[in-house]
Amino acid sequence: MNLLLTILVEGLGYASYLFIVSLGLTVIFGVLKILNVAHGAFYAWGAYLCAFLIGEFSTMGVSDLGTMVAIPIAALIVGLILGSAIERTIIKNLYGRDEVLIVLATFGLFLVLEDVILLVFGVDPYFAYQPTYAMPGVQIGGIHQDGYKLSMIVVSLVIGLISWAVLNRTHWGKLVTAIIYDSELAVAMGINVPRVFYTVFVAGAVLGALGGAYIAPTISVAPGFGVEVIVLSFAVVVIGGLGSIPGAAIGALLVGMLRAYAVLQWPEIELFVVYAVMAAVLIFRPEGLFAPAKARKI
Protein backbone atom coordinates (compact mmCIF):
# COMPACT_ATOMS: atom_id res chain seq x y z
CA MET A 1 0.00 0.00 0.00
CA ASN A 2 2.73 2.40 1.03
CA LEU A 3 4.72 1.36 -1.96
CA LEU A 4 1.79 1.99 -4.27
CA LEU A 5 1.35 5.42 -2.78
CA THR A 6 5.02 6.22 -3.15
CA ILE A 7 5.01 5.13 -6.78
CA LEU A 8 1.89 7.18 -7.36
CA VAL A 9 3.29 10.37 -5.87
CA GLU A 10 6.73 9.93 -7.37
CA GLY A 11 5.17 9.15 -10.73
CA LEU A 12 2.86 12.14 -10.56
CA GLY A 13 5.72 14.48 -9.69
CA TYR A 14 7.72 13.13 -12.54
CA ALA A 15 4.76 13.27 -14.90
CA SER A 16 3.99 16.85 -13.99
CA TYR A 17 7.17 18.46 -15.30
CA LEU A 18 7.30 16.05 -18.24
CA PHE A 19 3.80 17.20 -19.07
CA ILE A 20 4.70 20.88 -19.01
CA VAL A 21 7.66 20.31 -21.31
CA SER A 22 5.81 17.89 -23.60
CA LEU A 23 2.86 20.24 -23.86
CA GLY A 24 5.09 22.84 -25.49
CA LEU A 25 6.58 20.24 -27.79
CA THR A 26 3.28 18.78 -28.88
CA VAL A 27 1.55 22.13 -29.49
CA ILE A 28 4.46 23.28 -31.64
CA PHE A 29 4.28 20.05 -33.59
CA GLY A 30 0.53 20.17 -33.97
CA VAL A 31 0.54 23.68 -35.40
CA LEU A 32 3.91 24.10 -37.11
CA LYS A 33 4.47 20.42 -38.00
CA ILE A 34 7.95 20.79 -36.55
CA LEU A 35 9.36 18.25 -34.12
CA ASN A 36 11.51 20.70 -32.25
CA VAL A 37 14.59 19.08 -30.72
CA ALA A 38 15.77 22.52 -29.62
CA HIS A 39 12.92 22.35 -27.13
CA GLY A 40 15.39 20.51 -24.88
CA ALA A 41 17.59 23.59 -24.99
CA PHE A 42 14.72 25.86 -23.87
CA TYR A 43 14.30 23.50 -20.95
CA ALA A 44 17.98 23.66 -20.09
CA TRP A 45 18.12 27.43 -20.50
CA GLY A 46 15.09 27.82 -18.28
CA ALA A 47 16.73 25.73 -15.58
CA TYR A 48 20.06 27.55 -15.75
CA LEU A 49 18.57 31.01 -15.75
CA CYS A 50 16.23 30.10 -12.90
CA ALA A 51 19.00 28.65 -10.77
CA PHE A 52 21.14 31.69 -11.48
CA LEU A 53 18.35 34.13 -10.59
CA ILE A 54 17.48 32.29 -7.39
CA GLY A 55 21.09 32.59 -6.33
CA GLU A 56 21.11 36.31 -7.12
CA PHE A 57 17.81 36.98 -5.37
CA SER A 58 18.97 35.04 -2.35
CA THR A 59 22.14 37.08 -1.98
CA MET A 60 20.00 40.20 -2.34
CA GLY A 61 18.18 39.05 0.78
CA VAL A 62 14.93 37.78 -0.77
CA SER A 63 13.20 35.15 1.35
CA ASP A 64 13.28 31.50 0.30
CA LEU A 65 9.63 31.63 -0.71
CA GLY A 66 10.20 34.91 -2.53
CA THR A 67 12.91 33.42 -4.71
CA MET A 68 10.21 31.39 -6.41
CA VAL A 69 9.37 34.38 -8.60
CA ALA A 70 12.55 33.43 -10.44
CA ILE A 71 10.67 30.49 -11.96
CA PRO A 72 8.14 32.43 -14.06
CA ILE A 73 10.66 35.18 -14.74
CA ALA A 74 13.19 32.72 -16.14
CA ALA A 75 10.55 30.94 -18.21
CA LEU A 76 9.29 34.19 -19.71
CA ILE A 77 12.72 35.62 -20.45
CA VAL A 78 13.90 32.43 -22.16
CA GLY A 79 10.66 31.90 -24.05
CA LEU A 80 10.11 35.48 -25.15
CA ILE A 81 13.68 36.38 -26.02
CA LEU A 82 15.38 33.14 -27.04
CA GLY A 83 12.20 31.62 -28.47
CA SER A 84 11.39 34.70 -30.53
CA ALA A 85 14.92 35.08 -31.79
CA ILE A 86 15.09 31.49 -32.91
CA GLU A 87 11.72 31.54 -34.61
CA ARG A 88 12.59 34.72 -36.49
CA THR A 89 16.05 33.62 -37.63
CA ILE A 90 15.87 29.87 -38.14
CA ILE A 91 12.51 28.18 -37.70
CA LYS A 92 10.73 30.64 -39.98
CA ASN A 93 12.97 29.58 -42.84
CA LEU A 94 12.18 25.91 -42.35
CA TYR A 95 8.42 25.94 -42.81
CA GLY A 96 7.31 23.63 -45.56
CA ARG A 97 10.59 21.76 -45.83
CA ASP A 98 11.04 18.04 -45.41
CA GLU A 99 9.92 16.97 -41.91
CA VAL A 100 13.02 14.97 -41.14
CA LEU A 101 15.32 17.70 -42.37
CA ILE A 102 13.59 20.10 -39.98
CA VAL A 103 14.20 17.73 -37.10
CA LEU A 104 17.87 17.62 -38.02
CA ALA A 105 18.06 21.40 -38.24
CA THR A 106 16.51 21.77 -34.79
CA PHE A 107 18.92 19.10 -33.56
CA GLY A 108 21.78 21.24 -34.84
CA LEU A 109 20.24 24.21 -33.08
CA PHE A 110 19.95 22.20 -29.88
CA LEU A 111 23.65 21.30 -29.94
CA VAL A 112 24.62 24.92 -30.52
CA LEU A 113 22.38 26.22 -27.72
CA GLU A 114 23.70 23.60 -25.30
CA ASP A 115 27.25 24.77 -25.82
CA VAL A 116 26.30 28.41 -25.59
CA ILE A 117 24.98 27.58 -22.10
CA LEU A 118 28.46 26.45 -21.15
CA LEU A 119 29.94 29.64 -22.53
CA VAL A 120 27.45 31.79 -20.61
CA PHE A 121 27.02 29.88 -17.34
CA GLY A 122 30.28 27.95 -17.21
CA VAL A 123 30.78 24.24 -16.65
CA ASP A 124 30.22 24.12 -12.89
CA PRO A 125 26.83 22.95 -11.66
CA TYR A 126 24.34 25.36 -10.07
CA PHE A 127 22.42 24.61 -6.90
CA ALA A 128 19.32 26.58 -5.97
CA TYR A 129 17.42 24.65 -3.32
CA GLN A 130 15.93 27.73 -1.60
CA PRO A 131 12.34 27.33 -2.88
CA THR A 132 12.19 23.72 -1.70
CA TYR A 133 13.03 24.85 1.86
CA ALA A 134 10.15 27.26 1.73
CA MET A 135 7.58 24.59 1.00
CA PRO A 136 6.33 22.66 4.01
CA GLY A 137 6.28 18.86 3.72
CA VAL A 138 3.01 16.99 3.93
CA GLN A 139 2.12 13.68 5.52
CA ILE A 140 0.10 11.51 3.15
CA GLY A 141 -0.84 8.03 4.30
CA GLY A 142 1.86 8.24 6.92
CA ILE A 143 4.59 9.06 4.43
CA HIS A 144 6.37 12.37 4.31
CA GLN A 145 5.91 14.02 0.92
CA ASP A 146 7.98 16.85 -0.40
CA GLY A 147 5.84 20.00 -0.60
CA TYR A 148 7.63 21.44 -3.60
CA LYS A 149 6.92 18.32 -5.65
CA LEU A 150 3.25 18.55 -4.75
CA SER A 151 3.18 22.19 -5.84
CA MET A 152 4.60 21.09 -9.19
CA ILE A 153 1.70 18.68 -9.64
CA VAL A 154 -0.76 21.46 -8.93
CA VAL A 155 0.97 23.88 -11.29
CA SER A 156 1.01 21.38 -14.14
CA LEU A 157 -2.69 20.69 -13.62
CA VAL A 158 -3.43 24.41 -13.77
CA ILE A 159 -1.35 24.82 -16.91
CA GLY A 160 -3.07 21.88 -18.54
CA LEU A 161 -6.48 23.37 -17.75
CA ILE A 162 -5.50 26.83 -18.97
CA SER A 163 -4.18 25.44 -22.26
CA TRP A 164 -7.30 23.42 -22.74
CA ALA A 165 -9.48 26.45 -22.07
CA VAL A 166 -7.45 28.69 -24.38
CA LEU A 167 -7.69 26.19 -27.22
CA ASN A 168 -11.36 25.36 -26.79
CA ARG A 169 -12.89 28.50 -25.43
CA THR A 170 -11.16 31.42 -27.13
CA HIS A 171 -11.33 32.68 -30.68
CA TRP A 172 -7.58 32.43 -30.89
CA GLY A 173 -7.59 28.84 -29.76
CA LYS A 174 -10.09 27.97 -32.44
CA LEU A 175 -7.81 29.44 -35.09
CA VAL A 176 -5.05 27.20 -33.80
CA THR A 177 -7.31 24.16 -33.82
CA ALA A 178 -8.31 24.97 -37.40
CA ILE A 179 -4.68 25.08 -38.44
CA ILE A 180 -3.93 21.77 -36.74
CA TYR A 181 -6.85 20.23 -38.60
CA ASP A 182 -5.99 21.53 -42.06
CA SER A 183 -3.38 24.23 -42.52
CA GLU A 184 -4.03 24.69 -46.26
CA LEU A 185 -7.67 25.36 -45.60
CA ALA A 186 -6.70 27.72 -42.80
CA VAL A 187 -4.60 29.73 -45.23
CA ALA A 188 -7.50 29.78 -47.67
CA MET A 189 -9.76 31.05 -44.91
CA GLY A 190 -7.47 34.03 -44.46
CA ILE A 191 -5.99 33.09 -41.10
CA ASN A 192 -2.69 34.86 -40.58
CA VAL A 193 -0.72 31.65 -40.35
CA PRO A 194 2.79 33.09 -39.92
CA ARG A 195 1.63 35.10 -36.92
CA VAL A 196 -0.09 32.11 -35.34
CA PHE A 197 3.05 30.04 -35.95
CA TYR A 198 5.20 32.66 -34.28
CA THR A 199 2.95 32.99 -31.25
CA VAL A 200 2.60 29.25 -30.81
CA PHE A 201 6.33 28.71 -31.08
CA VAL A 202 7.05 31.33 -28.44
CA ALA A 203 4.31 29.95 -26.16
CA GLY A 204 5.78 26.47 -26.59
CA ALA A 205 9.24 27.81 -25.77
CA VAL A 206 7.89 29.41 -22.58
CA LEU A 207 6.41 26.07 -21.53
CA GLY A 208 9.68 24.24 -22.24
CA ALA A 209 11.62 26.79 -20.20
CA LEU A 210 9.02 26.67 -17.42
CA GLY A 211 9.49 22.91 -17.10
CA GLY A 212 13.21 23.46 -16.70
CA ALA A 213 12.82 26.40 -14.33
CA TYR A 214 10.47 24.48 -12.09
CA ILE A 215 12.69 21.44 -11.86
CA ALA A 216 15.84 23.51 -11.27
CA PRO A 217 15.52 23.86 -7.45
CA THR A 218 15.26 20.09 -7.02
CA ILE A 219 18.41 19.09 -8.88
CA SER A 220 21.95 20.20 -9.54
CA VAL A 221 21.76 22.07 -12.80
CA ALA A 222 24.69 20.68 -14.77
CA PRO A 223 25.74 20.49 -18.43
CA GLY A 224 23.98 18.06 -20.74
CA PHE A 225 20.79 17.49 -18.80
CA GLY A 226 18.56 18.82 -21.57
CA VAL A 227 19.20 15.67 -23.54
CA GLU A 228 17.39 13.23 -21.33
CA VAL A 229 14.27 15.33 -21.10
CA ILE A 230 13.98 15.88 -24.83
CA VAL A 231 14.20 12.17 -25.58
CA LEU A 232 11.66 11.44 -22.85
CA SER A 233 9.32 14.18 -24.06
CA PHE A 234 9.50 12.68 -27.51
CA ALA A 235 8.41 9.40 -26.05
CA VAL A 236 5.60 11.18 -24.23
CA VAL A 237 4.23 12.95 -27.29
CA VAL A 238 4.69 9.98 -29.59
CA ILE A 239 2.84 7.76 -27.14
CA GLY A 240 0.09 10.33 -26.70
CA GLY A 241 -0.14 11.25 -30.36
CA LEU A 242 1.85 14.12 -31.86
CA GLY A 243 -0.11 17.34 -31.60
CA SER A 244 -2.60 16.21 -28.96
CA ILE A 245 -2.87 17.92 -25.56
CA PRO A 246 -4.80 15.16 -23.78
CA GLY A 247 -2.30 12.81 -25.41
CA ALA A 248 0.57 14.68 -23.81
CA ALA A 249 -1.15 14.40 -20.43
CA ILE A 250 -1.78 10.67 -20.74
CA GLY A 251 1.68 10.10 -22.20
CA ALA A 252 3.32 12.01 -19.36
CA LEU A 253 1.31 10.09 -16.75
CA LEU A 254 2.19 6.77 -18.35
CA VAL A 255 5.87 7.59 -18.65
CA GLY A 256 5.99 9.11 -15.16
CA MET A 257 4.36 6.10 -13.51
CA LEU A 258 6.45 3.62 -15.47
CA ARG A 259 9.63 5.41 -14.49
CA ALA A 260 8.64 5.63 -10.84
CA TYR A 261 7.70 1.96 -10.81
CA ALA A 262 10.90 0.89 -12.54
CA VAL A 263 13.14 3.04 -10.34
CA LEU A 264 11.58 1.71 -7.15
CA GLN A 265 10.79 -1.86 -8.07
CA TRP A 266 12.60 -3.08 -11.13
CA PRO A 267 15.75 -1.05 -11.80
CA GLU A 268 16.93 -3.40 -14.55
CA ILE A 269 14.30 -2.08 -16.93
CA GLU A 270 14.48 1.56 -15.88
CA LEU A 271 16.47 2.71 -18.87
CA PHE A 272 14.38 1.23 -21.60
CA VAL A 273 10.88 0.60 -20.32
CA VAL A 274 9.73 3.95 -21.70
CA TYR A 275 11.07 3.16 -25.16
CA ALA A 276 9.65 -0.33 -25.12
CA VAL A 277 6.23 1.13 -24.37
CA MET A 278 6.71 3.75 -27.06
CA ALA A 279 7.60 1.08 -29.62
CA ALA A 280 4.62 -1.01 -28.56
CA VAL A 281 2.24 1.95 -28.85
CA LEU A 282 3.57 2.80 -32.31
CA ILE A 283 3.21 -0.77 -33.46
CA PHE A 284 -0.41 -1.04 -32.41
CA ARG A 285 -1.47 2.58 -32.88
CA PRO A 286 0.86 4.10 -35.46
CA GLU A 287 -0.43 7.62 -34.85
CA GLY A 288 -0.16 7.40 -31.08
CA LEU A 289 -2.97 7.03 -28.57
CA PHE A 290 -4.73 10.35 -29.13
CA ALA A 291 -3.66 11.67 -32.51
CA PRO A 292 -5.79 14.72 -33.33
CA ALA A 293 -8.23 14.47 -36.24
CA LYS A 294 -6.84 15.56 -39.59
CA ALA A 295 -8.59 16.52 -42.80
CA ARG A 296 -8.87 13.45 -45.04
CA LYS A 297 -7.16 13.91 -48.37
CA ILE A 298 -7.95 11.71 -51.34
Binding site: E99, V100, L104, A105, G108, L111, E114, D115, V231, L282
Partner: protein, 321 residues
Protein backbone atom coordinates in the same frame (compact mmCIF):
# COMPACT_ATOMS: atom_id res chain seq x y z
CA UNK B 1 25.38 4.30 -69.59
CA UNK B 2 27.29 1.12 -68.76
CA UNK B 3 30.27 3.28 -69.61
CA UNK B 4 29.56 5.82 -66.86
CA UNK B 5 29.07 3.06 -64.36
CA UNK B 6 32.43 1.59 -65.28
CA UNK B 7 34.00 4.99 -64.97
CA UNK B 8 32.71 5.35 -61.41
CA UNK B 9 33.94 1.87 -60.55
CA UNK B 10 37.29 2.81 -61.97
CA UNK B 11 37.29 6.05 -60.01
CA UNK B 12 36.47 4.22 -56.77
CA UNK B 13 39.21 1.67 -57.44
CA UNK B 14 41.81 4.32 -58.16
CA UNK B 15 40.73 6.30 -55.09
CA UNK B 16 40.89 3.41 -52.65
CA UNK B 17 44.18 2.08 -54.05
CA UNK B 18 45.67 5.57 -53.77
CA UNK B 19 44.55 5.88 -50.14
CA UNK B 20 45.92 2.41 -49.38
CA UNK B 21 49.30 3.18 -50.96
CA UNK B 22 49.53 6.56 -49.24
CA UNK B 23 48.64 4.90 -45.97
CA UNK B 24 51.29 2.24 -46.23
CA UNK B 25 54.14 4.40 -47.52
CA UNK B 26 53.49 8.01 -46.57
CA UNK B 27 50.93 8.73 -43.88
CA UNK B 28 51.83 8.81 -40.17
CA UNK B 29 50.29 6.23 -37.83
CA UNK B 30 47.94 8.66 -36.10
CA UNK B 31 46.35 9.52 -39.43
CA UNK B 32 46.14 5.85 -40.36
CA UNK B 33 44.25 5.30 -37.15
CA UNK B 34 41.87 8.12 -37.97
CA UNK B 35 41.21 6.73 -41.42
CA UNK B 36 40.60 3.29 -39.93
CA UNK B 37 37.96 4.64 -37.55
CA UNK B 38 36.50 6.96 -40.17
CA UNK B 39 36.13 4.24 -42.80
CA UNK B 40 34.62 1.83 -40.28
CA UNK B 41 31.90 4.38 -39.65
CA UNK B 42 31.65 5.15 -43.36
CA UNK B 43 30.55 1.56 -44.02
CA UNK B 44 27.52 2.25 -41.85
CA UNK B 45 26.95 5.64 -43.46
CA UNK B 46 26.80 4.02 -46.91
CA UNK B 47 23.84 2.04 -45.58
CA UNK B 48 22.19 5.18 -44.25
CA UNK B 49 22.79 6.88 -47.57
CA UNK B 50 20.72 4.24 -49.33
CA UNK B 51 17.91 4.89 -46.83
CA UNK B 52 18.26 8.63 -47.18
CA UNK B 53 17.90 8.45 -50.94
CA UNK B 54 14.69 6.56 -50.24
CA UNK B 55 13.55 9.52 -48.17
CA UNK B 56 14.09 7.81 -44.81
CA UNK B 57 16.26 8.87 -41.89
CA UNK B 58 16.78 6.55 -38.93
CA UNK B 59 17.61 7.98 -35.50
CA UNK B 60 18.39 4.51 -34.22
CA UNK B 61 20.94 2.79 -36.41
CA UNK B 62 23.24 2.58 -33.40
CA UNK B 63 21.14 -0.53 -32.79
CA UNK B 64 22.81 -2.24 -35.73
CA UNK B 65 26.15 -0.60 -35.12
CA UNK B 66 26.10 -1.98 -31.57
CA UNK B 67 24.82 -5.38 -32.67
CA UNK B 68 27.74 -5.69 -35.08
CA UNK B 69 30.25 -4.51 -32.51
CA UNK B 70 28.94 -6.77 -29.73
CA UNK B 71 28.72 -9.76 -32.07
CA UNK B 72 32.42 -9.44 -32.81
CA UNK B 73 33.28 -8.84 -29.17
CA UNK B 74 31.14 -11.66 -27.80
CA UNK B 75 32.46 -14.18 -30.32
CA UNK B 76 35.92 -13.38 -28.98
CA UNK B 77 35.03 -13.39 -25.31
CA UNK B 78 32.77 -16.44 -25.24
CA UNK B 79 34.34 -18.62 -27.91
CA UNK B 80 37.83 -17.17 -28.28
CA UNK B 81 37.17 -16.46 -31.95
CA UNK B 82 39.18 -13.55 -33.37
CA UNK B 83 39.20 -14.69 -36.99
CA UNK B 84 37.92 -11.73 -38.98
CA UNK B 85 36.62 -13.98 -41.72
CA UNK B 86 34.22 -15.32 -39.10
CA UNK B 87 33.57 -12.32 -36.87
CA UNK B 88 32.85 -9.71 -39.53
CA UNK B 89 30.45 -11.85 -41.58
CA UNK B 90 28.78 -12.83 -38.30
CA UNK B 91 28.40 -9.16 -37.34
CA UNK B 92 26.91 -8.38 -40.74
CA UNK B 93 24.54 -11.32 -40.64
CA UNK B 94 23.38 -10.72 -37.08
CA UNK B 95 22.47 -7.14 -37.90
CA UNK B 96 20.86 -8.12 -41.18
CA UNK B 97 18.74 -10.72 -39.39
CA UNK B 98 17.51 -8.29 -36.74
CA UNK B 99 16.96 -5.70 -39.48
CA UNK B 100 14.95 -8.24 -41.43
CA UNK B 101 12.70 -8.98 -38.45
CA UNK B 102 12.23 -5.37 -37.33
CA UNK B 103 11.83 -4.42 -40.99
CA UNK B 104 8.36 -5.95 -40.99
CA UNK B 105 7.40 -3.29 -38.44
CA UNK B 106 9.36 -0.21 -39.52
CA UNK B 107 8.45 -0.52 -43.20
CA UNK B 108 4.96 0.66 -42.30
CA UNK B 109 6.30 4.01 -41.10
CA UNK B 110 7.73 7.10 -42.76
CA UNK B 111 9.34 10.36 -41.80
CA UNK B 112 9.39 11.19 -38.08
CA UNK B 113 7.71 7.95 -37.07
CA UNK B 114 10.26 5.86 -38.91
CA UNK B 115 13.06 7.85 -37.29
CA UNK B 116 11.59 7.63 -33.78
CA UNK B 117 10.63 3.98 -33.91
CA UNK B 118 14.20 3.13 -34.78
CA UNK B 119 15.37 5.31 -31.91
CA UNK B 120 13.08 3.42 -29.54
CA UNK B 121 14.41 0.04 -30.64
CA UNK B 122 18.01 1.17 -30.26
CA UNK B 123 17.37 2.57 -26.79
CA UNK B 124 15.92 -0.76 -25.70
CA UNK B 125 19.17 -2.49 -26.67
CA UNK B 126 21.13 0.27 -24.93
CA UNK B 127 19.10 -0.18 -21.74
CA UNK B 128 19.58 -3.94 -21.79
CA UNK B 129 23.34 -3.69 -22.32
CA UNK B 130 23.83 -1.11 -19.58
CA UNK B 131 21.96 -3.21 -17.04
CA UNK B 132 23.32 -6.65 -17.94
CA UNK B 133 26.48 -7.62 -16.06
CA UNK B 134 27.00 -10.64 -18.29
CA UNK B 135 27.31 -8.31 -21.27
CA UNK B 136 29.79 -6.02 -19.58
CA UNK B 137 27.31 -3.41 -18.33
CA UNK B 138 28.41 0.22 -18.71
CA UNK B 139 32.12 -0.63 -18.86
CA UNK B 140 31.85 -3.06 -21.75
CA UNK B 141 34.79 -5.36 -22.38
CA UNK B 142 37.79 -5.93 -24.60
CA UNK B 143 37.76 -7.41 -28.06
CA UNK B 144 39.79 -10.53 -28.87
CA UNK B 145 42.95 -10.02 -30.90
CA UNK B 146 41.91 -10.19 -34.55
CA UNK B 147 43.44 -12.79 -36.82
CA UNK B 148 43.22 -13.27 -40.56
CA UNK B 149 43.32 -16.91 -41.69
CA UNK B 150 44.67 -17.70 -38.26
CA UNK B 151 47.53 -15.21 -38.48
CA UNK B 152 47.69 -12.49 -35.85
CA UNK B 153 50.33 -10.08 -34.62
CA UNK B 154 51.36 -8.34 -31.41
CA UNK B 155 53.22 -5.61 -33.25
CA UNK B 156 50.94 -2.57 -32.96
CA UNK B 157 52.25 -0.91 -36.13
CA UNK B 158 51.83 -4.04 -38.24
CA UNK B 159 48.37 -4.61 -36.82
CA UNK B 160 47.35 -1.05 -37.59
CA UNK B 161 48.57 -1.30 -41.17
CA UNK B 162 46.81 -4.63 -41.66
CA UNK B 163 43.51 -3.31 -40.29
CA UNK B 164 43.89 -0.18 -42.37
CA UNK B 165 44.35 -2.22 -45.55
CA UNK B 166 41.41 -4.38 -44.52
CA UNK B 167 39.07 -1.42 -44.10
CA UNK B 168 40.22 -0.01 -47.44
CA UNK B 169 39.51 -3.33 -49.17
CA UNK B 170 36.08 -3.75 -47.60
CA UNK B 171 35.30 -0.09 -48.15
CA UNK B 172 36.16 -0.41 -51.82
CA UNK B 173 34.10 -3.56 -52.24
CA UNK B 174 31.12 -2.02 -50.43
CA UNK B 175 31.28 1.17 -52.46
CA UNK B 176 31.49 -0.68 -55.78
CA UNK B 177 28.68 -3.10 -54.95
CA UNK B 178 26.36 -0.41 -53.57
CA UNK B 179 27.09 1.76 -56.59
CA UNK B 180 26.13 -1.13 -58.87
CA UNK B 181 23.03 -1.65 -56.76
CA UNK B 182 21.98 1.99 -57.08
CA UNK B 183 22.30 1.66 -60.84
CA UNK B 184 20.02 -1.37 -60.94
CA UNK B 185 16.26 -1.42 -61.32
CA UNK B 186 15.88 -2.01 -57.59
CA UNK B 187 18.34 0.82 -56.99
CA UNK B 188 16.13 3.21 -58.95
CA UNK B 189 13.42 2.38 -56.41
CA UNK B 190 15.20 4.57 -53.87
CA UNK B 191 14.39 8.04 -55.17
CA UNK B 192 11.30 6.65 -56.89
CA UNK B 193 9.87 5.43 -53.58
CA UNK B 194 10.75 8.75 -51.97
CA UNK B 195 9.02 10.66 -54.79
CA UNK B 196 5.83 8.65 -55.13
CA UNK B 197 4.91 5.37 -53.51
CA UNK B 198 1.50 5.27 -55.15
CA UNK B 199 3.07 5.23 -58.59
CA UNK B 200 5.52 2.53 -57.55
CA UNK B 201 2.60 0.35 -56.42
CA UNK B 202 0.76 0.98 -59.67
CA UNK B 203 3.81 0.07 -61.70
CA UNK B 204 3.63 -3.33 -60.05
CA UNK B 205 6.15 -3.17 -57.21
CA UNK B 206 5.56 -3.06 -53.46
CA UNK B 207 6.97 0.11 -51.93
CA UNK B 208 6.94 -1.54 -48.50
CA UNK B 209 9.00 -4.46 -49.79
CA UNK B 210 11.42 -2.11 -51.51
CA UNK B 211 11.87 -0.22 -48.25
CA UNK B 212 12.25 -3.46 -46.31
CA UNK B 213 15.04 -4.60 -48.60
CA UNK B 214 16.89 -1.32 -48.28
CA UNK B 215 16.42 -1.38 -44.52
CA UNK B 216 18.00 -4.83 -44.27
CA UNK B 217 20.83 -3.65 -46.49
CA UNK B 218 21.44 -0.62 -44.29
CA UNK B 219 21.29 -2.81 -41.17
CA UNK B 220 23.86 -5.23 -42.64
CA UNK B 221 26.25 -2.46 -43.64
CA UNK B 222 25.88 -0.73 -40.28
CA UNK B 223 26.56 -4.05 -38.53
CA UNK B 224 29.67 -4.51 -40.65
CA UNK B 225 30.80 -0.98 -39.78
CA UNK B 226 30.15 -1.58 -36.07
CA UNK B 227 32.06 -4.86 -36.21
CA UNK B 228 35.01 -3.15 -37.81
CA UNK B 229 34.83 -0.33 -35.29
CA UNK B 230 34.96 -2.85 -32.43
CA UNK B 231 38.09 -4.42 -33.90
CA UNK B 232 39.64 -1.00 -34.59
CA UNK B 233 39.08 0.29 -31.06
CA UNK B 234 39.74 -3.07 -29.40
CA UNK B 235 36.89 -2.43 -26.98
CA UNK B 236 33.10 -2.23 -26.86
CA UNK B 237 30.80 -0.42 -24.44
CA UNK B 238 27.20 0.79 -24.69
CA UNK B 239 28.00 4.50 -24.61
CA UNK B 240 30.30 4.54 -27.61
CA UNK B 241 28.55 1.84 -29.66
CA UNK B 242 24.81 1.86 -28.95
CA UNK B 243 23.71 5.13 -27.37
CA UNK B 244 21.55 7.53 -29.36
CA UNK B 245 24.58 9.82 -29.77
CA UNK B 246 26.08 7.16 -32.05
CA UNK B 247 22.94 7.21 -34.20
CA UNK B 248 23.19 10.98 -34.22
CA UNK B 249 26.79 10.82 -35.44
CA UNK B 250 25.84 8.43 -38.22
CA UNK B 251 23.04 10.72 -39.38
CA UNK B 252 25.29 13.76 -39.09
CA UNK B 253 27.97 12.19 -41.26
CA UNK B 254 25.32 11.15 -43.78
CA UNK B 255 24.11 14.73 -44.11
CA UNK B 256 27.66 16.06 -44.12
CA UNK B 257 28.62 13.67 -46.91
CA UNK B 258 25.60 14.23 -49.12
CA UNK B 259 23.62 11.67 -51.11
CA UNK B 260 25.48 12.25 -54.37
CA UNK B 261 27.89 9.33 -54.37
CA UNK B 262 28.89 6.16 -52.55
CA UNK B 263 32.36 7.69 -52.20
CA UNK B 264 30.98 10.62 -50.21
CA UNK B 265 30.55 8.77 -46.88
CA UNK B 266 34.25 7.91 -46.80
CA UNK B 267 35.27 11.51 -47.37
CA UNK B 268 32.60 12.90 -45.05
CA UNK B 269 33.46 10.46 -42.30
CA UNK B 270 37.16 11.34 -42.48
CA UNK B 271 36.36 15.06 -42.33
CA UNK B 272 34.19 14.37 -39.28
CA UNK B 273 36.96 12.42 -37.55
CA UNK B 274 39.61 15.07 -38.23
CA UNK B 275 37.23 17.84 -37.24
CA UNK B 276 36.56 16.13 -33.94
CA UNK B 277 40.23 15.61 -33.13
CA UNK B 278 41.18 19.19 -33.87
CA UNK B 279 38.10 20.67 -32.27
CA UNK B 280 38.88 18.92 -29.00
CA UNK B 281 42.40 20.26 -29.08
CA UNK B 282 41.62 23.82 -30.12
CA UNK B 283 38.25 24.58 -28.51
CA UNK B 284 37.49 21.89 -25.94
CA UNK B 285 34.03 23.16 -24.98
CA UNK B 286 32.68 23.91 -28.42
CA UNK B 287 32.43 20.51 -30.07
CA UNK B 288 28.63 20.45 -30.05
CA UNK B 289 28.61 24.01 -31.27
CA UNK B 290 30.72 23.02 -34.26
CA UNK B 291 28.65 19.94 -35.07
CA UNK B 292 25.36 21.77 -34.64
CA UNK B 293 26.53 24.80 -36.58
CA UNK B 294 27.80 22.61 -39.41
CA UNK B 295 24.50 20.77 -39.53
CA UNK B 296 22.58 24.04 -39.82
CA UNK B 297 24.94 25.41 -42.45
CA UNK B 298 24.62 22.29 -44.58
CA UNK B 299 20.85 22.15 -44.32
CA UNK B 300 20.49 25.82 -45.24
CA UNK B 301 23.30 26.32 -47.72
CA UNK B 302 24.68 22.99 -48.89
CA UNK B 303 21.94 20.38 -49.21
CA UNK B 304 24.21 18.22 -51.38
CA UNK B 305 26.80 17.88 -48.62
CA UNK B 306 30.56 18.00 -49.14
CA UNK B 307 30.22 15.75 -52.17
CA UNK B 308 28.44 18.52 -54.07
CA UNK B 309 31.38 20.83 -53.35
CA UNK B 310 33.90 18.25 -54.48
CA UNK B 311 32.03 17.43 -57.65
CA UNK B 312 31.61 21.12 -58.41
CA UNK B 313 35.34 21.63 -57.91
CA UNK B 314 36.03 18.66 -60.14
CA UNK B 315 33.68 20.22 -62.66
CA UNK B 316 31.28 17.34 -63.02
CA UNK B 317 27.89 16.31 -61.86
CA UNK B 318 27.33 14.08 -58.84
CA UNK B 319 26.80 10.45 -59.74
CA UNK B 320 23.06 10.07 -60.18
CA UNK B 321 22.03 6.62 -61.25
Amino acid sequence: MALTSDRTTLGLTVGFVAVALLGVFVLPDWLLNQILVAFSRALAVVGLLVLWRTGLVSFGHALYFGLGAYTVALLGRNYGIGEVLVTLPAATLASALVGFLLGFIVRRYREIFFAMLNLAFSMVLFGILVKTEALGSTDGFNVEQPTLLGIGTDDAAVKLTALFLGVCAIGWLTAVLVHRYLGSILGSLTTAVRDNEIRVEYLGYSAAEAIHGKYVMSAALTGLGGGFMAISLGQVDPESMVNWTVSGELVFVTILSGPGSVAAPFIGSLIFELLRTYAFELVPYAWQLIVGGTLLLIIFFLPGGVWSVLSRLAGRRGVEP
